[in-house]
Symmetry: C2
Subunit: 349 residues, 2 copies
């Protein structure tokens, strides 16, 4: 790799520095003080337009790149938001992260993310690691959190948004999401209304939010006097499409009279639908399938999937917005934002 040698030309090979071009290098070239260059870059109106132009040229010529670490140290702000999610390789969270990223980048903040892989112990370590970067704000997933994590977040003294759910547990600072319990309940209600009576549930991963969806779902079934445990099949194995087919197969082997299945997420539902296709089971006549999240494929699959649409991108966007508004001292209307969900009725149930 060809290395740039501007710094060598500036004659600083002996110093502790890595030889990068600094503010005062630029300043020296023009013959002004470093602070003036700093102002020209950060507060342009404060410096004479002609000087500013000269400074900008010098910056471009020398290929000067500001050192954010030094800036952070001087201002005690990092222009960085930390994000803790379970995993990046799940469409649900990549959509959330996209929402965060898009808002954040427009407002000149950087995003540092970390994946817990659904472990609260990991989460603790990651929070500690991320806080060492002194982010200006932090986003974590879910309301279930260890005491130690909570203590660290509190003593970090920065705004925090807990995303994905509202309505359960204690919010530490702010939160954005929707009620998973209600979402599960609303799907149960819909299936009951459609006349299904032997209603099943298949779920994987079974993190806290999945459990809340299941609880909402089952309690509604119970209220209607329907079976809850009989048609229930869950595993803590991470969720994927293939697993959906397998869980459907297992459930049907155990309870052949099941007439509708709520899949804990769309991926499982896709797998279930594919398995039904293979078994030549007509959906929804012989068995109804419902999903959760309304991912991309749900509208296109055959039959199209009845599911619950969740505001993933918006959760991310709103969380970032809350943080940045807080940081800029703008008024926050509410510390808790329920973005709701929407039952999407299609052909599969």
């Amino acid at each position: 790799m060809n290395r740039d040698n501007t710094a060598d030309k500036l004659g600083k090979s002996g110093s502790r520095s890595k030889g990068r071009v600094t503010l005062s290098d630029v300043a020296k070239v023009i013959g002004v003080s470093a602070i003036t260059v700093s102002r020209a870059l950060n507060d342009p109106e404060k410096v004479n337009p002609k000087l500013r132009v000269r400074i900008e040229q010098a910056v471009a010529e020398l290929n000067y790149v500001p050192n954010r670490a030094a800036r952070s140290l001087a201002t005690s702000t990092t222009q960085t938001l930390a994000v803790v999610i379970p995993t990046i390789s799940n469409t649900v969270f990549s959509n959330v992260l996209k929402g965060i990223y898009d808002y954040t980048t427009r407002h000149n903040y950087e995003v540092l993310f970390a994946s817990t892989y659904y472990s609260l112990q990991n989460e603790e370590k990651l929070i500690a690691k991320l806080l060492a970067q002194h982010p200006d704000g932090i986003i974590t997933t879910g309301l279930d959190i260890t005491e130690r994590s909570k203590a660290m977040l509190l003593s970090a003294n920065i705004p925090l948004v807990q995303i994905m759910e509202v309505g359960t547990g204690d919010v530490i600072d702010m939160s954005v999401g929707f009620s998973h319990f209600d979402a599960g309940a609303s799907m149960a209600k819909y299936l009951i209304e459609q006349g299904y009576r032997n209603i099943g549930f298949i779920g994987a991963q079974m993190d806290f939010r999945s459990q809340r969806r299941m609880q909402g779902f089952l309690s509604t079934l119970a209220d209607a006097g329907l079976e809850t445990d009989k048609y229930l099949l869950t595993t803590t194995t991470p969720s994927d499409i293939k697993l959906g087919g397998q869980l459907l197969a297992d459930l049907m082997a155990k309870q052949p009279d099941v007439d509708a299945i709520f899949c804990n997420n769309d991926d499982l539902a896709y797998g279930a639908i594919f398995e039904c296709q293979r078994r030549k089971l007509r959906i929804p006549e012989q068995i109804a399938i419902a999903g959760f999240n309304d991912l991309d494929a749900s509208a296109s699959i055959n039959p199209s999937l009845t599911t619950v649409k969740t505001p993933l991108y918006e959760i991310g966007r709103s969380a970032a917005e809350l943080l940045i508004n807080t940081l800029k001292g703008r008024p926050i209307l509410s510390k808790t934002l329920d973005l709701g969900f929407e039952l999407i009725v299609r052909d599969s149930a």
Copy 2:
């Protein structure tokens, strides 16, 4: 939000600091110098075990969180890798990013990412922004890059890995990927071998790599004396499942005698398969469908999808590994890593 007041207790409310606990706070509490605390944390063997224990306790009690910005400034290393990808909300890149993240986090580096949304102009700006963080290394996507981006990357003087493809254009420093041209060619070869003669191609987004796949595909068709332009349908619209159905519909309307279609990626292929199902077209008897990437659903969909498996996670992992090995001064076997691809033959073609 309840605020921690340890810092107030330490009596530093008048300073420029944000009131956080610092190394010398910890040092003062124990009655040693700051540098000793620093050593206890970064180079534990260098301090007396008994003292070390006391320091560790004080750190825990005071809830001390090191300031990475200060550390970066002092060491001119940030323990951060920058990643530039087209978009995070595409399974392809979220898998790559996961590979990067997993390796990186194990080696105590942070990841800063940015999305170009497939624009080289955006990429320029993002590279400039990311370099201001002085990452220790950087990963960018693709070998097509503007001169200005290249200049910035060169003068940043840090190791760089260009990911996703090898074998085309100039590599600036290192690269990891596979040949998209060859991958496209190999699918063409397979389809020809299977006896298809009116072979089509549908593609969306049509970024550089998609184009290279298409070129490889078409040139192989041409070599076999088959039509290339006639059964070709592409758009620069971002790719999604629904679009796959639409492109298939459009192509079949234009050229009803098409007997096989190579879809530029699996998402398009899923959409195409769903559309065929709706049209009651038997796959592969009436029309064969092939995809690219071998995403999760490809093995489960009906019929299961013949596709090209690409080493997405491994590309990310290897790129991170190359960077970190370079940074640690370990020998690099080769600056260019071709991880290849694999034709996965299933039922759809």
